[in-house]
Structures are given as structure tokens and as C-alpha cells.
């Protein structure tokens, strides 16, 4: 038996969430007394995973896996799962990994569970804690089936350096036939994405107009943060839809979430409340966000934010 981590990489480098998945995988493999296998695709840098506990590293190179598609990746991973007698697959919570998890489970008749926040409390039966009801509750869930697939919630486990055996092995595969081809990828360059950010600076209707976002961007720049916005702001076209966070927008699970001029409607909070520390800045002391936040400032954003920027600049 063994534990497998699908280690997502982009242009030969790993994101924090990939290292977190490997760290989780290592702890689980140790707990089960088995080896940790890491699988990368078309990545020349996979040896790095040794420092986080990889015992065996397979880098799969093939033409049809240059871009991620869930069918090709599932087919290739299944080959490793069968050859290496894998019992548990660990994924991060990235868009691609969550996309892969459910399909892989269907394809292999395995069982998949997402939003996992801790190591399993028991291996046999396999019981693991996950968040549900948009973080308003947790569930201890028993997972049946021979192959178990887990995606871990971002920032829930942490990254730990631990040396593995790190043997790099070749895994020969044939080209997988597919009629699904990625034709274009458009990415905003330079800025931190909401999914990968440690800090998210988010603003709402309290900012009064799109022209006032300069200070939000400046603050985010100083903190190395991603910018986000509330639903009304994206609906009015002040900010792009891709910045909308909340129940129907993007989920946020950052270390620090700063909400400026956002009242904190329940649909907004549902999308952001797995963030660790929440700060609210709002002129209305009755805004519901104050009940959800850890730190609050009652004040006018147009006075508080420039002051905050000034203080941060003074520290640098």
C-alpha cells in the first residue's frame, strides 16, 4: 500500500498548496506506515518534493498532458495507482485538483472527499473531518471504498519540511487518446490571485465608486495581497467578476481577510469565513461584519485606509 500526492506544478514550480498537500500526505503515510509517492506532470523540478517527504517521485511526460484535462490526468494517475498499489490519493484545493478529484473518483469507482481540514482521526474505518454548510459546520465523515481521494482545504494543515527517500523514478506511459483540447489560457499577469493569496484586501459599496479603488490596490500592493470585492460591486461593473468573493463568487481561505466598506451579508460571509483572521473597516458600527470579524475599525474608509497605507509605508 502507499499514499499518492498529485503535486500540481506550473512552469516547473510548485505552489504553496502543492507543498501543503505533500506535507499532509507525508504525515498520513507515516501514520499508516507506508511510502509516499508524488506524481508530477511535465515538471523538471520534481526533486524538490524530497524535502517535504516524497519517498518516490514520478514525473510523467506526455504530449496530451501538457495542459491539464481531467480525463487524461485521471487515466495516467490510475496507471500509477494500480502499479503502486495506492490506497489513498491526496490533492490540494486548487481549481484543477478539485476538478480532478470528483472525476477521478467516478472514473476509478473510488470515494472522494473535499474540504478536509485535519489528518484522519482513524484509518480503519477511515474517518476524516471536513467543513460543510459553507463553513458553518464540520462533519466527521466515514469514507468507504478501496481507493480514497482527499482534497485538503488551503491553509488548514500547514507546510512542514521533512526529508523523504526521494528516489526519482521513470514512469513510462503511452499517449492517452482524447477529444478534449485546451485551446487558450488567459491569465492576469503580475498580480496575486485570490486562490493563492495569504492576504486578501476586499472592498464593497462603501467605496462609493470604481475611481476610489486606487487606495485599495495600493494597500494590497504593500501587503502583497490579492484584491477582491463584494457582489454588488461586481454586479455594478466597478470591478471585474473575477474579483467577486462570496457564495456565488470565489471562495476565500486566506490567512488574513480585510473587508473595507462591506456590510457583511450572509452570502458574502459564507464565501470568506474559512479565512483565519478577519478585519473589518466600516463606518457603520451596526454592520453585521463586526459580528464575524476578529478585529474591527469603526471609521470612514477614506480616512482610515490612507492612514493605514502611511503607517505601513513608514514600517518598510
Amino acid at each position: 500500500m502507499s499514499v499518492l500526492v498529485y503535486s500540481e506544478s506550473e512552469k516547473n514550480s510548485f505552489k504553496k498548496s502543492s507543498y501543503e498537500a505533500v506535507s499532509y500526505g507525508k504525515s498520513l503515510a507515516d501514520k499508516m506506515g507506508v511510502e509516499l509517492i508524488c506524481v508530477t506532470f511535465n515538471c523538471s523540478n520534481s526533486q524538490k518534493l524530497k524535502n517535504f517527504g516524497a519517498d518516490k517521485i514520478f514525473n510523467i511526460e506526455s504530449q496530451n498532458s501538457q495542459e491539464f484535462t481531467c480525463k487524461v490526468y485521471s487515466t495516467l494517475l490510475l496507471k500509477v495507482i494500480e502499479t503502486e498499489n495506492v490506497s489513498t490519493v491526496i490533492l490540494s484545493s486548487s481549481a484543477d485538483s478539485k476538478y480532478l478529484g470528483a472525476y477521478l473518483a467516478g472514473y476509478t469507482y473510488g470515494s472522494y472527499i473535499s474540504n478536509v481540514v485535519e489528518l484522519p482521526e482513524s484509518i480503519n474505518p477511515f474517518i476524516v473531518k471536513r467543513s460543510c454548510f459553507t463553513n458553518k459546520a464540520f462533519s466527521s465523515t466515514e469514507l468507504k471504498g478501496d481507493l480514497k481521494i482527499i482534497s485538503i482545504s488551503s491553509n488548514s494543515y500547514g507546510i512542514f519540511e521533512k526529508e523523504g527517500k526521494g528516489s526519482q523514478e521513470e514512469f513510462k506511459v503511452d499517449e492517452i487518446e482524447t477529444n478534449h483540447k485546451v485551446t487558450n489560457i488567459e491569465k492576469q499577469s503580475g498580480s496575486v490571485t485570490i486562490a493563492d493569496a495569504d492576504i486578501v484586501v476586499s472592498a464593497g459599496r462603501g467605496l462609493k465608486g470604481p475611481e476610489n479603488w486606487k487606495m485599495i490596490e495600493e494597500l494590497a500592493g504593500l501587503l502583497g495581497a490579492a484584491t477582491a470585492c463584494s457582489k454588488p460591486v461586481s454586479d455594478m461593473g466597478w470591478r471585474p467578476h473575477s474579483e467577486h468573493v462570496g457564495q456565488t463568487g470565489k471562495p476565500v481561505s486566506s490567512n488574513l481577510y480585510i473587508a473595507i466598506g462591506i456590510s457583511g451579508a450572509i452570502q458574502h460571509l459564507a464565501g470568506i469565513n474559512s479565512s483565519k483572521v478577519k478585519v473589518v473597516i466600516n463606518s457603520d458600527p451596526e454592520a453585521p461584519f463586526f459580528k464575524a470579524a476578529d478585529y474591527g475599525v469603526v471609521g470612514d474608509a477614506f480616512e482610515v485606509i490612507p492612514r493605514l497605507i502611511q503607517e505601513l509605508k513608514a514600517k518598510v
Partner: protein, 248 residues
């Protein structure tokens, strides 16, 4: 073209979340159920495709008789017919297996689910279904354009949008962007009256076993009171974030 839209019956966002049966089941008492928001984006897109692709639209849910109200709403929004597979939706696996069994009898070209439900948040059913049926699969789908059996679609990825092409049949995980919130159809009186005439078929469950069992639900620890910082002493906020919360 035949489109199946899978609908999940979920508690309204503002519902109080409580549990019953020694914390092993969600307490439905006094809870208002709605169409899962992500499913509703998908349903609206499907209704548009009735015209653009000459499609027929079937709305399906797996659940007991209490879930028929939302199916009637789907019919009022514009679905042509509705199907309820009669059983308690135990977990995503049994639900996906029930839907798969139905799809093996009636070959749909496009199956649309929401990317995830707002209650259990598993994001499982569309992916499982695509895997079981061995169909192409796109989740977090924000655009869909079908021409005979050629599909052009895009999905949200970390920090951007990816566009791809494939062939039917396909399973879609819908989300906002596929249609906008302002596009959602509010049924009018005529739609509601017509919905009463449309067929709602009840199919017997095949009783698949479940693969994930919620042993126990629990709520997060009560959060402490918010710490208020005077707007004139903003340096204190930075200090607290740095030294107390340790997030800077």
C-alpha cells in the same frame, strides 16, 4: 439535443444550521429550501439553449416528495419536463449512481449540474457522474457554446479563464458567469400555470449503497468578540495583526 439539468434542494443561505439524531443529520425543521444557486445558473443556460440549440430540457432531482416544489419551480422557469427519483439523497455517490442509471436509459447530450451545492459543498456529483458515464467534463464552467456535437467552453482557473474544445456528450459543472445573476428567470403567472400542465414523472430508486457517511456534525467554536481599534490609532491594528494574530 437533449439536456438534463440536475437540481439539488438546499437550505436557503440564511437558514439556521442545526443537527438532529445525535448530531448525525441536518435538522430540516423550519428550514426554507431553494434551488441550489449554482444549479439555477445551469438551468437558466439550458432554457436559453431551447432556442439557440433547439434543445429539450429535463429537470431532475433525487429526493423525497418534499423536493417536488422546486421541480415545479424549474418547470415554471422553463424546463419541459421533470423527473424525481424517489429516495432520500444519502450521499453524493448514491445520488450520482441513481442519475447514471437514468442516463443509461435515456441518452442525454448535455448534463448540467451546479459546480457544488451550498449545503454539503462536496462538489462531487458532476465529476462522479462524468467519471461513471465516461463523458467529457468541465466544471466551474463560465461559457458554453455547442454546435452539432462540437463543444466550445471555458472554465475559471486560478487567476484566469481557460478555453477548451471537445465533443458531446458532456457533463457541465455550472456557476455564475455561465449566465449572470440578472439573467435568472423569475417565473411569471403564465409560467407557473403552464408548469402545472407539464409532466413530472416519479421514478423508483435503485437503492444504491452510500460510500460516505456523516458520523457526526459539529459547529465551529464560538468566536470571541471583535476587538475594536480606534480609527485614530491605526498603528495599533498593524501591531495586533503582526504580534497577536501573527498574520503580517
Amino acid at each position: 439535443m437533449k439536456i438534463l439539468v440536475c437540481i439539488s434542494n438546499v437550505p436557503d443561505t440564511t437558514s439556521k444550521i442545526n443537527f438532529t439524531d445525535s448530531d448525525s443529520k441536518f435538522d430540516k425543521n423550519g428550514v426554507q429550501f431553494i434551488i441550489n444557486p449554482n444549479d439555477e445558473f445551469g438551468l437558466t443556460k439550458a432554457v436559453w439553449m431551447k432556442e439557440s440549440n433547439n434543445a429539450s430540457v429535463t429537470a431532475l432531482t433525487v429526493g423525497d416528495i418534499s423536493s417536488e416544489a422546486i421541480l415545479r419551480k424549474c418547470l415554471a422557469i422553463g424546463a419541459d419536463n421533470a423527473i424525481r427519483i424517489d429516495c432520500e439523497a444519502l450521499d453524493a455517490y448514491s445520488v450520482a449512481k441513481e442519475i447514471e442509471a437514468h442516463c443509461n436509459e435515456i441518452n442525454y447530450d448535455v448534463i448540467i449540474c451546479g459546480r457544488e451545492s451550498i449545503d454539503y459543498n462536496g462538489g462531487l456529483v458532476p465529476g462522479l457522474l462524468a467519471g461513471y458515464l465516461d463523458y467529457n467534463f468541465i466544471t466551474n464552467c463560465v461559457s458554453l457554446d455547442i454546435n452539432s456535437d462540437d463543444v466550445k467552453c471555458s472554465r475559471e482557473i486560478s487567476g484566469g479563464i481557460e478555453t477548451s474544445e471537445c465533443k458531446l456528450p458532456i457533463v457541465i459543472g455550472a456557476q455564475k458567469g455561465l449566465v449572470e445573476e440578472s439573467d435568472l428567470i423569475i417565473p411569471n403567472m403564465r409560467g407557473i400555470m403552464m408548469a402545472r400542465q407539464k409532466p413530472l414523472e416519479v421514478i423508483e430508486s435503485k437503492d444504491f449503497s452510500n460510500q460516505a457517511v456523516d458520523k457526526k456534525f459539529f459547529k465551529p467554536e464560538e468566536k470571541g468578540e471583535v476587538k475594536l481599534i480606534n480609527a485614530d490609532e491605526i498603528d495599533k491594528l498593524i501591531d495586533l495583526l503582526e504580534n497577536e494574530a501573527k498574520v503580517l
